[in-house]
């Protein structure tokens, strides 16, 4: 005891050794703090002339923007060498890459260690599927940046901006849609951005039936939410009325068995549009009464006459709207219990009398 009292540095050292001891087999923790290590790396990597050459003859800069990096959520928390293992040594170990794509694909592994769930979701997504086939598709750093990693959805419009880097045509259509205009307006938090419908890491092929048949859930997530719809005066029965109709019933039944891209039924986006979605009463709206027949004809080319009236426009049948449907339903609400109740009563009476007779 007295030994430690007189030599406080020894106590600290012992304590440190106790904590360090169980780390057998794990990589040595960096000796410097992440910020200190970054300072060392930036000593060289702030220089824009520092480059890597690939086997295909192309080159890319290895410059890191100090200010951008300082804004990163990783700055001061994640050391350079955690994403670039082995590069603490100077001179750096020699690595050979066939191309910049290979170099970038290799870097993706760096994110996996900490962000395993998002990483494995990404592996299920359409971007990875394209990349695997050798196509041009983004990896982690293309959307999140390598060094200037900041919260991707702050502000929300940033998500659309990120996707628009590659999907500029869709982004433009979206920006003019009712959702895009909402995003640019005073209530951006109410607007769906790309990732709300397509998801962020496990993005599915939007042409696949598996994705399309989930559209009612996707749209219904917001459009069945009374609180969310209140400021806009929109009905929250859109999903239930759709599901009760022929198209919705088919979508529910077919969704668990969806394969490929053969159209099974019409979903929300087939009538309302996708990225070009408008308010229902806006000029050019596909679901406006004047345009509805044309919208039906997308799938039913022979549709004519009063065919659009077969769809009750998300209204529940009532005496005012679709009285024939309403009355037919009410008739059966009374008739079925009447008939079945009467028959069951007769069965019971018959049975009772036969038993009594015996």
């Amino acid at each position: 005891m007295s030994l430690l009292q007189h030599r406080p540095w020894l106590a600290t050292g012992l304590l440190a050794a106790m904590f360090a001891a169980p780390s057998y087999g794990l990589p040595e923790p960096p000796k410097e703090s992440p910020a200190e290590e970054a300072e060392g790396c930036l000593g060289c990597h702030e220089d824009p002339s520092i480059e890597v050459a690939f086997a295909d003859g192309t080159r890319r800069t290895l410059q890191v923007d100090r200010n951008a990096f300082a804004q990163s959520v990783h700055f001061g928390k994640v050391a350079c060498s955690e994403c670039h293992p082995g590069f603490q040594e100077i001179p750096h170990p020699e690595r050979r890459y066939a191309s910049e794509d290979e170099f970038r694909a290799g870097m993706r592994q760096a994110c996996q260690t900490c962000h395993f769930q998002d990483y494995s979701r990404y592996m299920d997504g359409v971007h990875h599927a394209v990349a695997k086939e050798g196509g041009a598709a983004p990896t982690c750093v293309d959307c999140h940046d390598a060094h200037a990693v900041t919260p991707p959805g702050k502000p929300r419009s940033r998500v659309s901006d990120t996707c628009s880097t590659c999907h500029s045509d869709v982004a433009e259509t979206y920006a003019n849609s009712v959702h895009g205009r909402l995003l640019a307006g005073p209530r951006p938090d109410d607007a769906p951005v790309c990732t709300d419908c397509h998801r962020s890491h496990d993005i599915q092929d939007p042409r696949s039936q598996a994705f399309l048949l989930r559209t009612p859930e996707t749209c219904g997530g917001c459009h069945s939410d009374t609180e969310r719809m209140k400021p806009y005066g929109l009905s929250t029965k859109v999903m239930s009325t759709y599901l009760a109709d022929f198209h919705g019933m088919t979508a529910s039944l077919a969704a668990p068995h969806a394969e490929g891209s053969t159209r099974v039924t019409a979903v929300c986006v087939d009538c309302h549009g996708v990225h070009d979605i408008t308010k229902v009463d806006e000029p050019g709206s596909k679901v406006m009464k004047e345009n509805l027949l044309k919208t039906c004809q997308q799938c039913h080319p022979d549709a004519a006459g009063d065919f659009p009236a077969a769809w009750l426009s998300h209204f529940e049948p009532s005496l005012e709207r679709a009285p024939l449907v309403y009355l037919t339903r009410q008739f059966y609400v009374i008739f079925i219990p009447f008939v079945i109740g009467g028959l069951v009563l007769q069965i019971l009476l018959h049975f009772w009398r036969v038993v009594v007779n015996r």
Partner: protein
């Protein structure tokens, strides 16, 4: 009278018709109910059995068409038999059927001592037959509207299409409920029938059962035996007969 003596009750055509309608009914219910109860897990399992919604619907529609043809076939032959062979319209409801129904209800409530004395088809059989006929017309009619909505909407209001969907869905449910309660009770679970009334499959009914269930028909077919049987169980003087021996109208 031997218990092994039989009377032919149903012709081969009628037996085949029953078998066809029974099979189609099962197929139609199996492929129809998943569409009514689309959000249940068993519905999804049945769809999986058929390999997908379009395949299941194809089976439903083909079975529906078969039922349509079976119905047309039935009425064609009934008409032929009536016109050519002067057959009795034994399924047409008569005043006596309503009397029988009331009598039978009174019997159940112990207001009558004996059950009603039925002719070839009793009021329950007639009810079920006409229920099937009208139900069939609604199912086939609404089914065709749902199968050809564009043709319908070209000439008639589009609102007929969702109306047909409601009618098809509810009428189908009701038909199913009638069959699993009423028909299954009368053909299987009624105490005198249990476990199985085979007449619609074999075409034959024993004379014993005929006399018991359709006494008026029995009297018409075997007047001598009926008189002999009545004499042997003649009521004691002073007590009224269970049923006055007046001939039923229309016989």
């Amino acid at each position: 009278m031997s218990a092994h003596e039989y009377v032919v009750r149903f012709s081969t055509r009628q037996r085949v018709e029953h078998f066809v309608v029974m099979s189609l009914f099962v197929i139609l219910a199996l492929t129809g109910f998943p569409q009514k109860f689309y959000d249940s897990s068993w519905a999804s399992a049945v769809v999986g059995l058929f390999g997908g919604v379009p395949q299941m619907r194809w089976v439903h529609r083909v079975a529906g068409y078969c039922l349509l043809f079976a119905t047309i076939f039935h009425f064609f032959f009934v008409l032929l038999e009536v016109v050519v062979r002067k057959a009795r319209l034994s399924m047409v409801p008569e005043r006596q059927d309503f009397k029988d129904a009331i009598h039978q209800l009174r019997y159940y409530l112990r207001l009558e001592d004996a059950p009603a004395r039925f002719d070839r088809f009793d009021y329950r059989e007639k009810f079920e037959y006409w229920g099937l006929v009208f139900g069939n017309m609604i199912m086939v009619g609404s089914g065709l509207v749902l199968l050809y909505p564009m043709v319908v909407a070209r000439y008639l209001p589009g609102e007929l299409i969702p109306t047909a969907k409601i009618a098809h869905s509810n009428e189908g449910l009701m038909a199913f409920l009638v069959v699993i309660t009423w028909h299954v009770y009368n053909a299987h679970f009624a105490p005198d029938i249990f476990p199985f009334n085979k007449t619609i499959f074999t075409g034959r009914i024993s004379k014993h059962h005929l006399q018991k269930e359709h006494p008026r028909e029995f009297e018409r077919l075997f007047p001598d035996e009926a008189t002999a049987a009545a004499a042997s169980v003649a009521p004691t003087p002073g007590t009224p007969a269970a049923e006055p021996p007046a001939p039923a109208p229309g016989t």
